[in-house]
Symmetry: C2
Amino acid sequence: MLAAVFQVRAVGSPKPALHVLLWQRALKPEAGKWALPGGSLRHDEDLTSSVRRQLAEKVDLREVAHLEQLAVFSDPSRVPGTRTIASTFLGLVPSPATPELPPDTRWHPVDNLPPMAFDHGPMVEHAVARLVAKLSYTNIGFALAPTEFAVSTLRDIYSAALGHPVDATNLQRVLERRNVITRTGTTARSGRSGGRPAALYRFTDSRYRVTDEFAALRPPG
Amino acid sequence: MLAAVFQVRAVGSPKPALHVLLWQRALKPEAGKWALPGGSLRHDEDLTSSVRRQLAEKVDLREVAHLEQLAVFSDPSRVPGTRTIASTFLGLVPSPATPELPPDTRWHPVDNLPPMAFDHGPMVEHAVARLVAKLSYTNIGFALAPTEFAVSTLRDIYSAALGHPVDATNLQRVLERRNVITRTGTTARSGRSGGRPAALYRFTDSRYRVTDEFAALRPPG
């Protein structure tokens, strides 16, 4: 099992960016290169228990708001030595949590990855592609966002995760219409530029769901 | 690897239904129960090659129009004996193909499964849930439908796959608006009830894609 855990970091700074959690290999093979956290399945655990156990060594698990199976990487020559099949997971940590990390572990921006071990580079790409796709038809953004947020903050998070600019007004309109986000009724204490205080929102559900089904396909009643 | 391969069968009959391809175990354990096709990974193949090789023993592969990885089932006690982890796949066969099947293999309606071996019942449920979800935000229906079809045929296929009635007019409107289906410009040779000949459609793409992204999240340009 290997987990690609993402967080949008430096929200509020000029350029918040999507980061992935990596650790630097100390030993051969591929010493010095960066790898996804993970390890081997024990005989008495299933994949999800295993990835949770192994992630717990890197990051406080209470901060992982979403965890799902991704693809299995099974190329016979993906790692040297004994054949190893890797089942990958996608994990998401909300902003602005700042979990403590062990010394070998660091957040790296996905658009500027360090030299990656084995096939972990393509694994990160695959996980980003899944995240981008799911942002467009599910409420998965809840797992990257703070509990309450101004639309401008959410815009920063979506822009960083998608890798391109998003218009705050459009984002708000679409997510409200689909009942993905809800107004809390309160406002942020003060606007950065001293303007009108921004309305605060929260995700309507903090459990993953598809939000964008074809209306024509919904069950009757 | 195990594959849940689906087809909507008896399209045009009063009640077309979603079916899954199962084979009956001849040997212990679980002799007589029904199982998903599959088998073990060889040392020189990856998962997708393996599942294709194993499916080829059951059904002509040219008829599998879509194949994707589903979940990994890894409960330590999921099968007796040596620990075995199962990586499952979703496969789709268009109507009205009638692949030849080996004698131990049969299509079963998913709403009336026979006694299932091991955890293969939950695997079928998982695969159906994935298919239903994807029908609602992707063009995956192409892999269940004939190359050209009247809207009433497509309605039968969607209704069977979703497990509930779908309105043909709504379905046509939504799928046309999202450019999932396109009019061919021709008509069916004759309506069943002798009425006006039905316009024929095809899927705009016969490659899987998400069709229903939030417009606000699309890349600029």
